[in-house]
């Protein structure tokens, strides 16, 4: 009996881990150092990448790069067609994805309750976020090839492929911000006799507006630089095409890839253009990310 009491006392007073204090403290410092070092290592690629993109992208960056096209120019020209393509493809993707995404999020937070459809949707949206981008591209290709023949390449196909990637992101972020709209706002609106749909349109959505915009911008930033799905759906082209329903189209990422992949006679000039396109893309992505966060900070409704 006595020994068990001693055991208990020892357990209560002993430090949780054995060894002298100085050694435990030293170990603590070593582990802390390792964690900090690992964090620093994780960020090295980020800084190296940003540095290299700026360094290697600037030589190719020029007025001609931003406004010209390679059409009729051997081993030269600009990326205007790719910039236009990026804008059109991304725009059409957003037109498809934003309404579907936000409405689905409204269903999840406002109408779903605890129903089966709600649980299924939540689950499958998670699954959808994991679809590889190339698979989304193949899906869009298969869809259009069945109806329009296998040689088809359209801006719209690319937009459909990117929508598969963008819709789940929009749903996730919209759901988050709709969830934090306080219930008493809805109840006050019901108490005034407002129908539910007017409550959603006039009370819930305006309250969540800044968050919705931020979510959409970050989703756009995620798909604007996609390459793989467009490689199999929109093809490669060298002149400006603004019509997503007809003919091939190219975005900046695919342009960068094709300049790298099939460089002209002057190899370095092609590589310069690939890096300049990468720099343009990074700039677009960064601006979208930063502006999205500023919008949220500036316009978010204070929720108490």
């Amino acid at each position: 009996m006595e020994s068990s009491a001693a055991d208990t006392r020892a357990l209560l007073t002993s430090p949780p881990v054995g060894g002298p204090l100085w050694r435990r403290k030293a170990f603590n410092r070593v582990m802390t150092g390792l964690i900090v070092a690992a964090f620093a290592i994780a960020l090295i690629p980020l800084f190296s990448l940003l540095f290299e993109v700026v360094k290697r992208g600037l030589p190719g960056m020029s007025w001609e790069f931003l406004t010209g096209t390679p059409r009729g120019i051997v081993g030269g020209g600009g990326a205007a067609h790719a910039i236009v393509g990026t804008v059109v493809i991304t725009g059409v993707t957003a037109i498809i994805s934003v309404p579907i995404g936000i409405l689905a999020a409204i269903y999840l937070t406002e109408y779903g309750g605890k129903g089966r459809l709600r649980r299924w949707l939540t689950f499958f949206v998670d699954v959808m976020t994991g679809i590889p981008s190339i698979v989304a591209g193949l899906f869009a290709f298969a869809l259009f090839a069945i109806f329009l023949g296998p040689g088809i390449r359209l801006g719209l196909m690319g937009a459909v492929a990117l929508s598969v990637l963008m819709i789940p992101i929009v749903i996730r972020s919209s759901e988050e911000v709709l969830k934090i709209v306080p219930n008493h706002l809805r109840e006050a609106s019901y108490a005034l006799g407002t129908p539910k749909w007017r409550t959603i349109v006039k009370v819930v959505l305006p309250t969540a507006f800044a968050g919705l915009v931020t979510g959409v911008m970050i989703a756009v930033a995620r798909i604007v630089g996609e390459t793989a799905p467009l490689l199999v759906t929109t093809g490669i082209v060298d002149s400006i095409n603004t019509n997503p329903f007809e003919g091939r189209m190219q975005n900046l990422a695919v342009y960068a890839y094709s300049e790298y992949r099939t460089p002209g006679v002057m190899k370095q000039a092609s590589y310069d253009r690939a890096w300049a396109a990468a720099l343009t893309l990074i700039a677009i992505v960064m601006i979208l990310n930063v502006v999205a966060r500023l919008v949220y900070r500036r316009y978010k409704t204070e929720i108490k």
């Binding site: 949780p16 690992a38 994991g130 749909w197 960064m286």
Partner: protein
């Protein structure tokens, strides 16, 4: 699910009375329609891939690319896919867990948001840029390391060599994949690490634990399943990542564990990106069949990850 009662679905769903406004019916119809569209889209992905893959499955081997049967064609690619992704996860997970710990428990409060933003930036960079960085910067920089590995560790099957002179090897491709999946693994871990009950952490500290001992005894056990599920989400991402591998890896159709030589197995995604633009006829169907296999592999990985996460949420 208490939180959804407090703020989410309104308890007064029937507030508008038994006779619902026409606008209500239309609007809820729209919302349900959007939800069904999303489910339909996912089903469509599986369905249309299947339809377009079938011709390749039923065709005789000698009409397929390389004159191989479908299984023989896809198997080496699937091997390369899994190998590249597995190495990427092995490299990324320790770094990601450490980065998550740093942000959730070690970094000064004031800069936590900024640090989180930096890690998230890694996820925002387009894969094409990672590809260019990998082949022009990391690859050449890695050559001396690859040679060193061949000389010193050449007896291990992974480093048998001969070391590539360009750095376009499996190891470099996996390194870039690791960088690309690090933010997602880290984000999942960070989320859960920062939810470790305060009383546990403070209890450990009050009992005299150092900060590392506190982390080891409370945060890591609490976050164990998040590390596993985060790793699997990262694995899913790495399996399907296309452009970085397409650009960096110098491929040949072989199956090898040698990570540092010029001859590497390709991955399913990279193979599609390389061959699809120049393919026609049955070759296209074959590539789509391989895409279907990739879809199935990532689906299983993601489902497993989600199952672990949801089990953890219940607890």
């Amino acid at each position: 699910m208490e939180s959804s009662q407090a703020t989410g679905a309104p308890p007064l769903a029937a507030a508008a009375g038994p006779r619902r406004h026409w606008g209500d019916r239309a609007f809820s119809g729209l919302a349900i329609g959007a939800g069904l569209t999303v489910l339909g889209l996912l089903a469509g992905v599986a369905l249309f891939l299947l339809i377009e893959a079938l011709p390749a499955a039923s065709a005789s081997p000698d009409r397929l690319p390389e004159g191989k049967s479908l299984v023989d064609y896809i198997a080496p690619l699937a091997f390369g896919t899994v190998l590249a992704a597995a190495i990427a996860v092995l490299i990324a997970v320790p770094l990601a867990v450490a980065a998550a710990l740093f942000i959730s428990h070690i970094a000064p409060r004031r800069i936590v948001l900024a640090l989180g933003f930096l890690v998230d930036l890694l996820a925002a960079i387009p894969s094409i840029v990672y590809g260019l960085w990998g082949i022009f910067v990391l690859g050449p920089a890695a050559v001396p390391v690859l040679e060193w590995l061949e000389q010193k560790l050449g007896f291990i099957v992974f480093f048998k060599g001969p070391a590539s002179a360009t750095g376009r090897t499996m190891l470099v491709a996996s390194l870039v994949l690791a960088v690309m999946i690090l933010p997602i693994v880290s984000a999942v871990c960070r989320e859960v690490f920062s939810q470790t009950p305060r009383k546990l952490q403070e209890g450990a500290l009050a009992l005299g634990a150092t900060r590392w001992e506190m982390i080891r005894m409370t945060v890591l056990p609490f976050g164990k399943s998040s590390i596993i599920s985060g790793s699997m989400l990262g694995l899913g991402r790495a399996l399907g990542e296309t452009m970085a591998v397409t650009i960096i890896l110098s491929v040949s159709g072989i199956v090898t564990f040698n990570l540092i030589s010029q001859a590497n197995p390709s991955t399913i995604a990279a193979n599609i990106a390389l061959d699809f633009p120049e393919s026609s006829g049955l070759a296209v169907n074959t590539l789509i069949a391989s895409g279907l296999v990739l879809f199935a592999i990532t689906l299983v990985t993601n489902l497993a990850a989600r199952a672990i996460i949801s089990r953890q949420n219940i607890q």
